[in-house]
Structure formats: structure tokens, C-alpha cells
């Protein structure tokens, strides 16, 4: 640790974005915990003011986390990636064993009055782990081995989190891995295989749930066979590609059956929200209505009816973006997205510029983490993706995620401060 000061070193633009996002979060949480303003009786906002004050306290803690992450030496961090990663895997295991069951899932570890989500800590250690793994200098021949090894290390925390169950968070690991591996450099054939396998998955899902007949998927396979024949790829590659497609196609119904009833319902409802307008589709519909109501300038601060009359569920956590949309309008939402965008834009530049491979992959990991969270969360609130519990980092209420996200921003600042040194 060098020159520890109250202001972090590094890219001032990223730090400013962090500050503005935190202030936006506080403003929105204040709004959510205030009675609606307008021609209404004084209403209980339904979310207690304590939420706002707890977030203020967490913000202080998170700032400390950001400062530490921004100033700690990268070399020192790289030295502890293995124990840190194993430690967080251990915590995930403990959570599954001893965590209290809250609303049907085990996501927290309680230590006296203090409660934390080990899956959040795991995101940090996972990114550091990946930085170490992919940042190691290897020759071209062993690249595939490293890629496969990194996938294995991704599946470990992913499966543990999926067991909690927390589908949204488990997908974060996969998404970050995809982002990292892309930068690491994936062979073109692997990309082709993964792409066609994904399409196969979609067709298989369609056959399983909507069509209730194997024909759509079977027709896709026949088409693929034709394309493979015409493209004159080697027999071996063709067989591997076809096998990948068949495996994912068969795996989807199997995976679908393994999903919890509410998860299946959410995915089906995503394709047709009116299917259950008062159940799983309710959140999606109300969120879209809230955002659409915002218009260019919003209904004005504290005056959103979707928020204030409690039509919008989870308005202080996963659906806080809908409150931004409703009360601050298109320009408010644009401003919020711009803050994220600038932060990530800068992040990519720093990742490309930094010399130390470990720092580069950590930066890419952080950028991918934010990109996935923001895009997925905003897509869920605007109805582009099915509802999955995933917070908007730095803005949604929740201490663990705020701390994690701030530490990751700190790491990005750390990388940026080293861009031209080290």
C-alpha cells in the first residue's frame, strides 16, 4: 500500500461516475421511502426509511472498500488469489450447509447481526482468480488447456450459487468468463461451435415448451447437417460440431426439468406476460408501465404513481431502475446509463493500455461484470429478458452488492493508476 489518501488514485472520471451513481442511488432510495406527493392522502410508502439510512452506512463501508482496492498493490493481490478464491468457495459451501433459509433460498451467512452474501465476495475473488489464470504467460499451444481450465474454475462457484438457488448471480460467473475468454482469444471454431450450440438450445427449448413436439429442433439439425456438408469442413470438426449441437439440444429439456417451478413460470411468462398477469408476469408488466409512464422528463421526483401507490414490486432493489425511469424520465435514465457507459468505456481503454496481464484481465473481468449486470437488469425492467433476481450495481439497495461493486470499481481505479507504470 502506497500513498494512502482519502481520495483514491487513478481515473478521476471513473471515480466521479461511482460518486454520481451512489448519489443517484441515495436519491432514488429516498424517493422510494417517502410517501407519494400529489393529490393523495399521506401514504405509507411501504419501504421503511431505514433502507435509506442503512444504504448510507453501507456506502461509507463501501467507500473504504473502494479505497483499499484502489491502493493495494496488484502484485500483492496476485499472490493471494488462490487462498482468497478457495476461501470464498468455502464460504459458499458453508452457506449451503448452514445458511438460514429465507424465502425458500439460502443466500446469506449470518454472523450475529451482520449478514452477508458470500456469492458477492466470490465475484471479487473469482475475477482475481481469472486474472491470475489468464494473465499467466503461456505459449499458443496451451491456450486451449487454459481456457478449459478457466471454465472448470468458473463452474465451481457457479454451481454452488445455483444450488442456493440464485440463477441470476450464477449467470454472472458465466458471463464474466465469456468476456474474459473472448479477450484471451478463442479459436474461431470454438466460437462457431458455441454459437450453433446456443441456437440449437433455443430450438430445443421451443420444441420442449411451446411446440410440445421435437420437430422444430429436428428440422434445425437437418439444416445444420446440410450446411456442414456444403461448407466442406473436415469430418472431425463436423462431427464435433454436430455432437455439440445434439448434446445441448438434449440437455435443454433435461435442464428445463431441473428448473424450479417458479423459474419455469418466469421464463414462460417472459414469452407471454399476460399468461399470468397477477403472478409472475405482474412484476414485468408493472415495471414496463412504470418506465413507459416516465416519458421524456418523468413524472417528477417523488411523484411516480407506479412507485408511490406500490404497484411496482421490489422497487428499492431489483426494480429501482423502473423508479428512475418513472420519476426522472428518458433523460434521467439516459444520464444513469451514461454514467455506467463512461465507466466501462474508460475501463476497456485502461485494460487495453495496462502492461501487466493480471491487471488487464482483472479490468476486463470488472467491466464484463458491470456490463452483464447493467444490461441484464435494465433488460429485465424493460421486459427484454425474463425476470431474474439481479440488482443494478451501485444503485439497488443491498449492502453486499454495493460493497462488492465498489471494490470492483476500486480495482478498476487501481488498474487505471497503473496504466502507464508498473
Amino acid at each position: 500500500m502506497k500513498n494512502f489518501s482519502l481520495l483514491p488514485q487513478g481515473d478521476k472520471i471513473i471515480f466521479l461516475a461511482w460518486v454520481l451513481l451512489c448519489l443517484t442511488s441515495l436519491a432514488m432510495l429516498w424517493s422510494v421511502t417517502e410517501p407519494i406527493q400529489g393529490p393523495y392522502e399521506k401514504l405509507d410508502p411501504g419501504v421503511s426509511k431505514g433502507v435509506f439510512w442503512r444504504q448510507v452506512v453501507w456506502m461509507g463501508v463501501s467507500y473504504l472498500g473502494l479505497l483499499v482496492a484502489a491502493s493495494v498493490r496488484m502484485r500483492y493481490l496476485e499472490n493471494i488469489v488462490w487462498p482468497a478464491f478457495l476461501f470464498s468457495l468455502g464460504l459458499l459451501l458453508l452457506t449451503l450447509l448452514f445458511g438460514p433459509k429465507i424465502a425458500g433460498s439460502q443466500r446469506w451467512l449470518a454472523l450475529g447481526p451482520f449478514r452477508m452474501q458470500p456469492s458477492e465476495l466470490a465475484k471479487v475473488t473469482y475475477i482475481l482468480m481469472m486474472g491470475h489464470l489468464l494473465g499467466g504467460t503461456v505459449d499458443g499451444g496451451r491456450k486451449l488447456m487454459v481456457t478449459i481450465g478457466s471454465l472448470a474454475l468458473t463452474l465451481l462457484p457457479m454451481m454452488l450459487v445455483l444450488r442456493e438457488p440464485d440463477l441470476g448471480t450464477s449467470l454472472v460467473f458465466l458471463a464474466v468468463w465469456v468476456g474474459l475468454v473472448f479477450w484471451y482469444g478463442v479459436p474461431g471454431l470454438l466460437l462457431l461451435g458455441a454459437g450453433s450450440a446456443a441456437i440449437s438450445a433455443v430450438f430445443s427449448f421451443y420444441s420442449e415448451t411451446v411446440a410440445s413436439s421435437p420437430w422444430p429442433w429436428a428440422i434445425y439439425l437437418l439444416l445444420l447437417l446440410g450446411v456442414l456438408y456444403l461448407s466442406r469442413l473436415s469430418i472431425l470438426v463436423s462431427v464435433v460440431l454436430l455432437a455439440a449441437n445434439i448434446l445441448t439440444g438434449i440437455g435443454i429439456p433435461f435442464f428445463w426439468d431441473r428448473l424450479k417451478g417458479y423459474q419455469q413460470e418466469r421464463i414462460l411468462t417472459f414469452f407471454d406476460p399476460t399468461r399470468d398477469a397477477f403472478g409472475a408476469g405482474y412484476q414485468a408488466i408493472q415495471s414496463k408501465v412504470a418506465i413507459g409512464t416516465g416519458g421524456l422528463f418523468g413524472t417528477h421526483y417523488l411523484q411516480g404513481t407506479q412507485k408511490g401507490l406500490a404497484f411496482l414490486p421490489e422497487r428499492h432493489t431489483d426494480f429501482i431502475f423502473s423508479v428512475v425511469g418513472e420519476e426522472l424520465g428518458f433523460f434521467g435514465s439516459l444520464f444513469l446509463l451514461a454514467l455506467f457507459f463512461i465507466m466501462l468505456w474508460q475501463g476497456v481503454h485502461h485494460a487495453a493500455a495496462v502492461r501487466r496481464p493480471f491487471a488487464r484481465f482483472v479490468a476486463i473481468g470488472v467491466v464484463t461484470y458491470f456490463l452483464f449486470h447493467v444490461v441484464t437488469n435494465v433488460s429485465i425492467t424493460t421486459g427484454l429478458l425474463p425476470v431474474t433476481g439481479l440488482p443494478l450495481p451501485l444503485v439497488s439497495y443491498g449492502g453486499s452488492n454495493l460493497l462488492t461493486s465498489s471494490i470492483l470499481v476500486g480495482l478498476l481505479l487501481n488498474v487505471s493508476s497503473r496504466t502507464f507504470h508498473d
Binding site: E41, I291, T293, L309, V375
Partner: protein, 599 residues
């Protein structure tokens, strides 16, 4: 290596830009292009339409004393979704516990309401303040539960005016299916079912208001200012012709007897008092009456629901003798002083003896004495002097044989038989002129209502000037002006004198009063099912008629002993009352009825 990094950075930034552009583009689409659509959705979310029942117009007596008004009571209601396949929802479950309602019974009751198609289920009708505040304080835990105020009809004289005012009830599916023009009615609305309430439905019922209220997600009204889409138009008040004090006098005069008494103003046709006994409390009909109470009323052999004023038909008995006399006088067949064959207690006709009520006989009588003493033998002879159609025509001239009131659609027409009627009934050769003997004394197939008898008496008193009887003063129905009577004024005057003498010295003596003159006639309606019914009709004062009264007591035997004193008591009250001064401000002046100068 640097080159490679540069390319990846480009691709990475490209993906970043594309993803954010998708997000922003979608936001622009939703928030700007489809803004109106979503704004409407948000409005639909929080605005709920409420219908507010317009208060029903009040009903007063002729002087403005209220006899029917509205009370506001509060119900605790649930949405239909509170019960799914007999399984109570969370809110209902809570209320069942808090109010300690009998579980199975309550669920069944709500199930019945749901099956009847009611959109909101009434859990607690007419709820107490304690329960209302319990619900209001904890509304957050009770999504969809509301306290709804609803006007309930109150009858201040439920039993006294039950048959005239009638009552309201809930609109049922049958009402919606059968009645045209009820498009603005919904299940559960109030609608007049009987009497003035039914006849004046359009007038009394206002227009319900429709307002938009803002609600929160738990369906609780939170908006401060409702938006009225349709303003409430309260129903208009209506006034009866009945006078409360006079009605009470009639009620007391009849007492516990089974029967009916009607008194009307002979100049205007206003019905001043009309009682049908026994009666019922019309307030019972506006609340959910218990099955036990209902059975008790519906199975009562005295038929309390039966409106004897206009629905009951009886043979008029000797009251009809006025009609017979006027018919023969008009035909010139018999004079006003004519003496016919003496009464020896009856008359032989064909192979049958028709008895006089006085088996010992009246001896020799002139026309007037025959009326005063109600000699049947004399009237048998009068009857045989005419054709059945001539007698029927005389009766119809007074308005008999058809409904005459303003507000009772279920009023009975009665029956004035003529030759076509007998042909239909018994075949063209199935009857003889013998029916005339019965008809002449008001027995046999003739049927009249008490109201028709009051009208007959009033028209004799006014030489036919009395309009059809009215029960409602405001809104005024078109007065049905009577056709001029086909009888000579001197014959009518003779008839009035004969009726005066009937009370002075004849069969109507029980109605005689010291302070004023009464002209009247007793009657006995033969009843094949039991004791005869006792009639008495009269008008007073005899020389300057103001009111006409008709009384019938079922199974009371002879009219002279039972019915006449009741009419007498009412008339005594009338002449002593303040009401008379109000209704007939200058009794002396009212003498100058058109057509009366001749007498």
C-alpha cells in the same frame, strides 16, 4: 500482440456501444414513442370506477309528512375473488377470525351471492362502528376489502301504509330479463316492487353517479379528489293523497278486523285514507327477511300481503241496489214512488223461491222504502223488469267492471256480467233471466273492489263528477275525468235521499251521527266459503257531500251491525278534525258543484 489488443479493444467497445444502444433505443421506444400507451396503463392501474347510488326520492303524505326516506348503512364487502371455489382468500380468512363469524355458514352465504352474479360480496351487512373501524385501520392487511355505504329504504309507517306505499327490493336476474327499459339497473340495485314505490319508480329513482377514484396496489382508495364522470341526480320526492291522521283514524276504526276501509274526497277523487287489514311492516321487505318470518307472512290465512283495497273482489250485495234503482228509473220502467207486489219474504221464479233477507216479509213498499229497508223482493221485481245488459250498462256508467286507480297495476277489474259474459260462461242457452234476480241485489257473479264501491258512492253523491280515485298527488297523474252519468239528476237526487233515509231510519242506522248527516247503504256479500262479508258505503254530509267511505269486513255477517259503525267512527273523526279544514277550506262553498243547482 499490441495489434491484437487493439482489435479486441475495438470489438469490446463495439459490443459495449451496441448493447447500450439497444438499451437506450428500447427506452426511447417505450418512454417516448409508446409513452401514451403506458400512461394509460398506469391510469388503468390506479383509477377505479365506482358507482354511487343516487338517493331515492322521499314519499310524503298529502301535507308533506315523510312516510318513506333513506337511511345510510355501511356494509363490509369483498371482491368476488376473495372466494375461489369455496376456499377463502387471505383477507377473508383474517376477517372470519377477527369477527368470529361462523365459518362454514359465512362461506356458503358468500358463495350464494357469488352465484347470483354479484361483483362484490357483502360479508357484514349493516356493520357496527367497531367492525368498520377495525377494517379501516387495518386496510393494508385486507386488500380489496371495502366499507361501502348504501342507502336503505326506511318506512316510517311501515304497517300503516304498507299496501299503498309498497316497498323496494333488490333487482334480481328475473327483473333484468323481463322488464324492458331497465337498462341502467344492475343486480342488487333497489327497485320499487309494489305500490307507489313501483308505480313511481322513474320519478323516485335518480341517476346514479359514476366517479373515478385513485387506488393503490392493495385497492385502497387513496386519492383526495374523485373525478365525477356522471353527477348524481337524486330522485324526486313524491306526495300521496293520503292524509296521515285520517289514515290512522281509519286504521283505528277497523281495529283488528279483517277487511278494508277506503275514504275519498268526492270532489277531487283523492283517496284520503285506505286501509287493508291485516297488514305487514314494509320495512321487513327491504332487509333480508328471515325465512321463518317470510313463511309466517306468506302462510298467514288472513293474507297480510293481499291489498284488499284494489285486489280483493267481492259481490257488492245490497249496495248495488242504488245501481238497480237508477237503471230502472232511467228506463222509465218503474217510478220513484212505484209500489210493486208486496214482499212476503221472497219471490217465486221458475221452480225456485228467491228469499228476501227478511223472511217474514216487508209487506207493501214503495220504491224509496224498498231501498231504505233493502227489500230484496222488491228488487227481484225491478231486476225482472229489465234486460241484464241494461243493468250492466248502468253499473259500467259508474266505472265498475274496470280498474280505476292511478298506481296499482295489479288492480282487479271486478266483474259486471252481461249477456255475452253469460253466453261465454254457461253457453248461449245455459242461463235464464233468473240471473237478473241475483244481479239486482248485487249477488251472484258481480264482483267489485272496495275502491270501486267508494267511487260508486262518491259518484252518486256528486252526480258523477268525481274523477277516478288518486293515491298520488305529486307527481300528478292525468286525472281520468268521468263520463257524464246517463241518469237524470232528479233520479240521482232521489237516490241520495233514499240513502240518507237508509241511515236515518233504515238498515244503516248504525252509522247515524248527531252533528252531521250521513247517506249510506249496507250490504252483505254472500260468501260460499264461510260467513258473509259485511259492506257499508256512505257519503257525508248528505246535503253537501265531502267524502265518500266504503268499508268491508270479511266474514263479519251483516253490514248493518259491523261495517256501518266503522264508517261512522271515521266520519266522526273527519268532521272533528283539523284535516277537514285543510282539505276543504270552505265547506259551505263546495256545495256549488256543477250540476247540483238543479236539486
Amino acid at each position: 500482440m499490441e495489434q491484437q489488443h487493439y482489435l479486441r479493444q475495438r470489438i469490446y467497445l463495439f459490443v459495449l456501444v451496441v448493447l447500450f444502444l439497444i438499451l437506450v433505443g428500447n427506452l426511447f421506444y417505450m418512454m417516448v414513442l409508446k409513452h401514451g400507451f403506458y400512461e394509460e396503463q398506469a391510469l388503468e392501474n390506479r383509477q377505479v370506477r365506482f358507482r354511487v347510488t343516487a338517493p331515492r326520492g322521499r314519499i310524503t303524505d298529502r301535507h308533506g309528512s315523510i312516510v318513506a326516506d333513506n337511511l345510510y348503512i355501511a356494509d363490509i364487502t369483498l371482491p368476488g375473488s376473495a372466494l375461489r371455489d369455496s376456499v377463502p382468500g387471505e383477507a377473508l380468512e383474517r376477517l372470519l377470525g377477527w369477527f368470529q363469524l361462523p365459518r362454514q355458514q359465512t362461506i356458503e352465504r358468500l358463495q350464494v351471492q357469488k352465484q347470483r352474479g354479484r361483483r362484490r360480496l357483502v360479508l357484514v351487512p349493516n356493520a357496527s362502528m367497531a367492525r368498520i373501524s377495525a377494517v379501516q385501520e387495518r386496510s393494508r392487511q385486507l386488500p380489496g376489502v371495502r366499507v361501502e355505504s348504501r342507502p336503505r329504504r326506511r318506512y316510517l309507517y311501515g304497517a300503516l301504509l304498507a299496501h299503498i306505499v309498497g316497498y323496494v327490493g333488490e333487482v334480481g336476474q328475473a327483473d333484468l330479463d323481463t322488464t324492458e327499459g331497465h337498462t341502467d339497473y344492475r343486480l342488487g340495485d333497489q327497485i320499487g316492487k309494489q305500490g307507489a314505490e313501483a308505480a313511481l319508480e322513474r320519478h323516485l329513482r335518480g341517476t346514479d353517479g359514476v366517479k373515478l377514484e385513485e387506488v393503490d396496489a392493495s385497492n385502497r382508495v387513496v386519492g383526495q379528489r374523485p373525478l365525477w364522470l356522471t353527477e348524481i341526480v337524486p330522485g324526486q320526492d313524491a306526495a300521496l293523497t293520503i292524509s296521515l291522521p285520517l289514515q290512522k283514524m281509519m286504521d283505528e276504526a277497523i281495529g283488528q278486523e279483517i277487511g278494508c276501509g277506503v275514504a275519498m274526497d268526492v270532489r277531487t277523487g283523492d283517496v284520503l285514507a285506505a286501509c287493508s287489514k291485516p297488514t305487514f311492516d314494509s320495512n321487513l321487505m327491504t332487509v333480508s327477511i328471515s325465512p321463518q318470518q317470510w313463511n309466517l307472512l306468506i302462510n298467514d290465512p288472513a293474507k297480510p300481503f293481499f291489498n284488499r283495497i284494489v285486489q280483493a273482489t267481492y259481490p257488492p250485495g245490497s249496495i248495488y241496489k242504488s245501481v238497480t234503482s237508477l237503471a230502472v228509473l232511467n228506463l222509465g220502467l218503474v217510478g220513484m214512488d212505484s209500489v210493486l207486489e208486496p214482499c212476503l219474504g221472497g219471490l217465486e221464479f221458475g221452480d225456485r223461491t228467491f228469499h228476501c233477507w227478511k223472511r217474514t216479509g216487508h209487506g207493501t213498499l214503495n220504491h224509496t222504502d224498498a231501498m231504505v229497508n233493502s227489500c230484496d223482493t222488491y228488487y227481484y221485481q225491478l231486476g225482472l223488469s229489465m234486460d241484464i245488459d241494461q243493468l250492466a250498462e248502468a253499473a259500467r256508467a259508474f266505472g265498475l267492471g274496470r280498474p280505476c286507480s292511478d298506481i296499482f297495476p295489479s288492480e282487479a277489474a271486478g266483474n259486471i256480467p252481461d249477456s255475452p259474459w253469460y253466453d261465454r260462461r254457461f253457453g248461449p242457452r245455459g242461463w235464464t233471466r233468473g240471473v237478473l234476480l241475483n244481479n239486482a241485489i248485487g249477488q251472484g257473479e258481480i264482483l267489485v273492489t272496495p275502491l270501486q264501491m267508494a267511487l260508486l258512492t262518491a259518484r252518486i253523491a256528486t252526480s258523477g263528477e268525481t274523477p277516478n280515485p288518486r293515491f298520488v298527488k305529486d307527481p300528478a297523474f292525468d286525472l281520468v275525468q268521468p263520463e257524464p252519468l246517463p241518469f237524470a239528476e232528479r233520479h240521482l237526487q232521489w237516490c241520495r235521499d233514499a240513502l240518507l233515509q237508509t241511515v236515518e231510519r233504515g238498515t244503516g242506522r248504525a252509522a247515524k251521527q248527531d252533528s252531521f248527516t250521513v247517506a249510506g247503504k249496507t250490504g252483505t256479500a254472500q260468501n260460499p266459503h264461510g260467513e258473509d262479508h259485511a259492506w257499508f258505503v256512505c257519503f257525508a254530509p248528505a246535503e253537501n257531500p265531502e267524502v265518500a267511505v266504503a268499508v268491508i269486513l270479511e266474514n263479519a255477517g251483516s253490514g248493518s251491525t259491523q261495517a256501518a259503525p266503522i264508517a261512522g267512527r271515521w266520519l266522526e273523526g273527519w268532521f272533528g278534525s283539523e284535516e277537514r279544514r285543510l282539505i276543504i277550506p270552505d265547506p259551505e262553498k263546495s256545495r256549488a258543484l256543477p250540476g247540483r243547482e238543479a236539486s
